[in-house]
């Protein structure tokens, strides 16, 4: 049912019932959201942050030891008796770094991979509860990327840069506290360069965000041109537009290159300026240190402390700055993941409803993928048990949408769809799909054996049942001709299965499931005559005695329907049997004659084109 022309392009469901199950992922910024996501593992994550800070401290202490030793050199007190204690302290610190570092990494890994494992599971669980229409191919690509690559990006960020940034901020803070204790004016001189650099950093990031956005647009443009080039290669070659001869390809690449260069040429000076300004703290500290040393404001010991420690403040900050880029990427990934979770779920009842019979009824159903652009408006009809209803109409009339609503791919904005008297919204998933089978135009076979695929809807089916269904679906013969028969996997069979054969497997699956209502979107693409006959025969077996609702294209299908529903622009404009509708000489009669003309079309050959020869 995915091949319909009236497919959803955008969901803007403001139905308050469907919105928000409290699952939204976003909690403000990246760091906060990650923290929130940690859930039960918050303690492990917190522990890892604690260990990381401990490691940074253990790294700072040996520097303190060196400061002390240098000071003892200055005062001529250094002797071999200092070897013992200093080595002991440093040794302990090295071991501590290793232990704390290991513990930090370990907790971070475990917490991270566990929590993002959970995110994946929760995402999938959420996805099974959103309206099925959401899994329309058009959007499923985004969803796939979100739950595979994007989750992976956030995961990697959390277990590495996230940790490193914590270390990169802890160490300067610890050192800075020491400096403040030593001498406040000198500490302020140390801080000055960071304070000055901060606006440069902010400015750089803003410019980057602005230029980066433009660059991203051009990159998207360039990459879609590249994709277009590869996809359109037969056409491009047929019209001799290969390589640089295709202007649009060359220009897109050229623009992308120009945008890249612009970005680099504008950002590099700023990035360098930022790093330079931070590092200018070194001459600044040296300058004020000298000034104040000769003033007598500070003593020589203080100058030594500052000279040794000054780089310990700046270097980690420069390292941290390199991660902001990654943060932005991660943040974008996180937003895509969050979008999956923000998708409203479809409410389901907890109690099964009472169903009687297999009638399908539309009661004044109005529905649009966008609420203000109805695809179906006030459509009412009844498909009685054991009858066939054909839906016809021009493209874009909303034919496939009718089927989508019966299978609850979407819920209508107003009105109701009933099965056996019960609103489909009050049916449990089991009830609904025990009553309804959908035969999709795009056949989807799962990795696994052909037998498993046939038994997909009836996991407890015996082999004999599977074979019976396959026979009825005209699939038994070609399946048994495969190397391992029913045990052949779909991957093995792969290229050996033609479109018609895949369809017959899907029909066998539906036959085995044996529901009283069948929804069918009739295939529009032609297959070879033999397959066509077999598929039609298989469908015949499937629908025997059922309530059949079909989006019909074949003349014989339409003509044989008990009831034909004519849709036009989302409105049910007519209904009745073929004969009645023809007699009305309305839209249906027009469509019918078009169809007949198309069905009887012959290639204009010389004999038909040239009247003198006919």
């Amino acid at each position: 049912m995915t091949a319909s022309t009236d497919r959803p392009t955008h969901l803007d469901n403001d139905d308050p019932e469907g919105v928000g199950d409290g699952q939204g992922l976003r909690r403000g910024g990246l760091m906060r959201t990650v923290w929130h996501l940690a859930g039960d593992r918050r303690r492990v994550l917190a522990r890892s942050i604690g260990w990381k800070a401990a490691q940074a401290t253990a790294q700072a202490i040996p520097v303190g030891v060196i400061v002390l030793i240098i000071d003892r050199v200055r005062t001529d007190e250094l002797s071999s008796s200092d070897i013992g204690w200093s080595t002991a302290v440093i040794g302990v610190c090295v071991v501590a770094q290793w232990i704390f570092g290991y513990l930090a990494n370990r907790s971070s890994w475990v917490a991270t991979f566990r929590m993002f494992g959970d995110v994946r599971v929760r995402g999938l669980d959420h996805l099974r509860r959103v309206p099925m229409g959401f899994h329309d191919q058009h959007r499923s690509g985004d969803t796939l990327t979100a739950l595979t690559q994007d989750v992976g990006t956030v995961e990697s960020f959390t277990h590495e840069p996230f940790q490193q940034m914590i270390g990169a901020f802890t160490a300067p803070i610890v050192v800075f506290v020491i400096l403040v204790v030593q001498d406040v004016p000198m500490a302020l001189a140390t801080l000055a360069s960071v304070v000055v650099a901060y606006p440069v950093f902010i400015w750089t990031n803003r410019l980057f965000a602005r230029l980066g956005k433009r660059r991203q647009e051009l990159q998207a443009e360039a990459s879609s041109r590249m994709v277009e080039y590869v996809q359109g290669l037969p056409v491009i070659r047929a019209f001799r537009l290969t390589g640089e001869r295709l202007d649009r390809f060359r220009i897109a690449l050229d623009d992308f290159r120009a945008a890249n260069l612009e970005l680099v040429l504008k950002i590099t000076p700023l990035g360098m300026a930022f790093a330079a300004v931070v590092m200018l703290g070194v001459p600044c500290v040296l300058f004020f240190g000298t000034l104040w040393l000769f003033d007598g404001t500070i003593d020589a010991g203080t100058l030594i402390v500052f000279a040794v420690l000054v780089l310990r403040v700046y270097e980690p900050l420069l390292v941290a700055a390199t991660h902001f880029e990654g943060m932005r990427i991660t943040d974008a990934s996180l937003s895509r993941v969050a979008r999956v979770f923000d998708e409203p779920v479809q409410p389901v009842p907890t109690e099964p409803a009472h169903v009687e019979g297999a009638d399908v009824t539309f009661e004044a159903v109005t529905f649009g993928y966008d609420a203000d652009q109805p695809v179906l408006s006030d459509v009412s009809f009844t498909a009685e048990q054991g009858t066939m209803t054909a839906i016809v109409g021009p493209s874009g009339a909303g034919k496939s949408t009718v089927l989508n609503l019966i299978a609850r791919f979407w819920d209508p904005q107003s009105g109701a769809v009933r099965i056996g008297g019960a609103d489909v919204r009050e049916l449990t998933a089991e009830q609904l799909f025990d009553a309804v089978t959908v035969v999709f135009q795009d056949v989807y076979l799962f990795p696994g054996t052909i037998g498993d695929n046939i038994a997909f809807g009836s996991p407890h089916a015996e082999q004999a049942d599977i074979e019976r269904a396959a026979r009825a679906a005209r699939a038994h013969d070609f399946v048994t001709a495969l190397p391992d028969g029913y045990a052949t996997t779909v991957e093995e069979a792969g290229g050996n299965l033609s479109g018609g054969e895949r369809q017959r497997i899907a029909i066998a699956r539906a036959i085995l499931k044996d529901t009283p209502i069948v929804l069918l979107d009739e295939a529009t693409s032609a297959i070879d005559p033999t397959n066509e006959r077999l598929v039609q025969a298989a469908l015949g077996e499937l629908v025997t005695g059922k309530t059949l609702i079909v989006v019909a294209h074949r003349l014989s299908t339409i003509r044989s329907a008990d009831h034909i529903l004519v849709l036009d622009g989302g409105h049910a404009v007519a209904g009745g049997t073929h004969e009645n509708l023809l007699a009305e000489e309305g839209l249906y009669a027009r469509l019918w004659s078009e169809r007949r003309r198309a069905a009887n079309w012959r290639l204009p050959t010389r004999s038909t084109a040239d009247p003198s020869r006919s």
Binding site: I70, Y229, A238, L253, V264, A276, V438, Y444
Partner: protein, 619 residues
């Protein structure tokens, strides 16, 4: 002493690949020396025109790296002067000034290096992409099949893009790190060899820890990648199949399967972390652990009088950070794998076999098409066996037969999507292999079921077929293809942009525009591969009319499943298992009661099968 000045956060946007453990391996499926060499060779060939720029970037980076050592020296000199007890004020101010100048110089030079390397890198990426596109224009079209076209798109887009990280950042960063990694030890040794050894010796255990760690985790890496792939594949399967899963009430156990795959992956990562983390952590700790040797050795030597205060201070200040660049280098080399993989993939496409160019002067004599004893195999699998046919100018030849019988292959071979293995294909009496590909394309038009339009205006899409077509000619072609009415119904008319692959149009509209394009191209030979199979049944009649206009007076070879459409063809060839099993006109073939007659029977009975009758049948 961080030599990697990545503070210039510029453009690793899409490149910053998430580094899950051992991610570097993921991108190096081959890893043998040969492939590294050939991958590099391909890149070097592209880098040659810009070699000057790359060298300049390296030199600037090296100079910047040397300047980055100045602050350490200045700090050391300041401390030394203070410790010695007789600092000269102006001397210290001078050190501060030198530091200032060196810092400014360093960042200016490094900025220049970055800029130069980026200019060269972007030029190179551009050249690589254009060269790939050029090459793809000359390989057999069949090479770009569905599976491979995905790969090609990825190589041209992502993998080439990834080279940028290495070319633009890697070169300055690696040069800078290398310069520091060489300069610092030399400097240390000139001051005191014993202390220098104490500074550097920790490298040995650090790398030993790294090596053991790698060896321990290597065996589990395949399992890690496997579980990662499995997990992602399972997620993909589940999401793709979600409608079917739900319709068949299988959500619970399918979700559980995927959850298990996720759990397996998490477990493997946990085990991996337990195995590798102690040693990986040790690597970084050991590189910083030289302080534990320097301090006691320094004090002891100093106490014995064989190390001056000045020299000891030098090592306490400069020696401590000496190993930073080593770990920076290490992470840079991890990216090297990406570079060679990218290079290899590019190389693979650049060395794909191309079609021979043919003789630009040869021109087909007429619009006839002839296959003589054509043999063809796809990857060892024979698809055509001695197929012969002759289509006279202006006639219609229909190819029919079951799916997979080789019909589409015949059409593809006439358009030279592949070159044949035996026999000969002639258009207008000339072997197509000796025709210039441009000439062949101008003489043979292929209309596929799969419509392709550029994301451009309707007029531009039509003009692709004839760049100098007038507006009147464009309109005439659109009218002939029954497209004019829907085109003019758009507010922008012929200037309407069709969207990606024509997404803003219906299937039938796209189809009519492709037909209009073919009409405009006006090639004497038309190949129709199921072009009458409609994505848009409501517009079927219009499309048929358009086909009628296109083929009038042409030599047509068409593949059709709807046998009624081709009943009037001048000749019908029945293809089965890559052989022509029957040929003749419709009436003759029906009378012959062979394969065609059976197909015709199937066709008629399928037409007659009515689902309504089945519904009303008693179960």
């Amino acid at each position: 002493m961080t030599a990697t000045e990545s503070a210039s956060t510029t453009d690793s946007v899409e490149v910053a690949s998430p580094s899950t453990p051992g991610d570097a391996d993921e991108s190096s499926p081959t890893g043998s020396d040969v492939s590294v060499a050939s991958g590099m060779k391909a890149l070097i060939a592209f880098a040659r025109p810009d070699a000057g720029r790359f060298v300049l970037a390296g030199l600037l980076a090296a100079a910047a790296a040397l300047l980055s050592l100045v602050p350490f020296w200045a700090i050391y000199r300041t401390i030394d002067a203070v410790v010695a007890g007789d600092p000269i004020r102006n001397e210290l101010f001078r050190l501060a000034l030198i530091t200032l100048i060196a810092l400014v110089g360093r960042y200016v030079l490094f900025g220049l290096s970055t800029a130069v390397s980026h200019v060269a890198a972007y030029q190179m990426l551009y050249e690589i992409r254009v060269a790939m596109a050029e090459r793809l224009g000359r390989v057999p079209l069949g090479y770009v099949n569905r599976r491979r076209s995905g790969e090609i798109k990825k190589v041209m887009g992502d993998d080439v893009e990834r080279l940028e990280l290495w070319l633009a950042h890697g070169i300055p960063d690696i040069v800078a790190s290398l310069v520091v990694a060489v300069a610092v030890p030399v400097w240390l040794f000139t001051v005191d060899w014993r202390m220098a050894i104490a500074t550097l010796i920790v490298i040995l255990p650090a790398f030993a820890a790294m090596a053991i760690g790698m060896r321990r985790t290597m065996p589990s890496m395949p399992r890690y990648h496997e579980s990662l792939t499995e997990m992602n594949a399972s997620v993909v399967e589940l999401i793709r199949g979600m409608p079917v899963v739900k319709v068949f009430n299988r959500a619970d156990d399918r979700v559980r399967d995927t959850e298990n795959a996720i759990e397996r992956h998490v477990t493997i990562v946990e085990r991996l972390s337990r195995d590798s983390l102690p040693l990986m952590t040790a690597f970084f700790v050991l590189l910083a652990a030289n302080v534990a040797l320097l301090v006691p050795l320094g004090i002891w030597l100093n106490d014995r009088g064989s190390l001056s205060d000045t020299d000891m201070l030098f090592f306490f200040v400069v020696g401590l950070g000496a190993l930073g660049p080593i770990s920076a280098l290490l992470s840079l080399f991890a990216h090297l794998a990406q570079l060679t993989t990218g290079g290899n993939l590019v190389e693979e496409i650049m060395t794909a076999p191309t079609l021979t160019d043919g003789d630009a002067d040869l021109i087909p004599g007429d619009a006839s098409v002839e296959l003589h004893e054509v043999d063809f195999a796809y990857d060892e699998r024979r698809v055509l066996h001695g197929v012969s046919l002759r289509a006279e100018p202006g006639t219609i030849t229909a190819l029919v037969g079951p799916s997979g019988s080789g019909k589409s292959t015949i059409a593809a071979l006439i358009a030279r999507f592949w070159d044949i293995d035996g026999g000969e294909i002639r258009v207008g009496g000339v072997d197509i292999r000796s025709l210039d590909p441009d000439v062949l394309a101008a003489n043979v038009s292929v209309v596929l079921q799969d419509t392709f339009l550029f994301d451009d205006t309707i007029a531009a899409n039509l003009r692709v077929a004839r760049p100098n077509a007038t507006d009147a000619e464009i309109e005439a072609a659109a009218r002939a293809a029954r497209a004019h009415d829907f085109v003019t119904a758009f507010p922008a008319g012929y200037e309407t942009v069709v969207g990606e692959r024509g997404a803003r149009l219906s299937g039938g509209e796209r189809q009519r525009l492709t037909l209009a394009r073919a009409i405009l191209a006006d090639a004497p030979v038309i190949l129709l591969d199921e072009a009458t199979s409609f994505a848009d049944p409501e517009n079927e009649a219009l499309i048929q009319d358009a086909i009628g206009e296109l083929i009038a007076g042409k030599t047509v070879i068409m593949i059709a499943h709807r046998l009624s459409t081709i009943a009037g063809a001048d000749q019908i060839l029945v293809i089965e298992d890559g052989r022509v099993v029957e040929r003749g006109r419709h009436d003759e073939l029906v009378a012959a009661t062979g394969t065609y007659a059976r197909l015709w029977d199937d066709f008629i009975s399928a037409e007659d099968l009515a689902l309504g009758d089945a519904v009303r049948r008693d179960p």
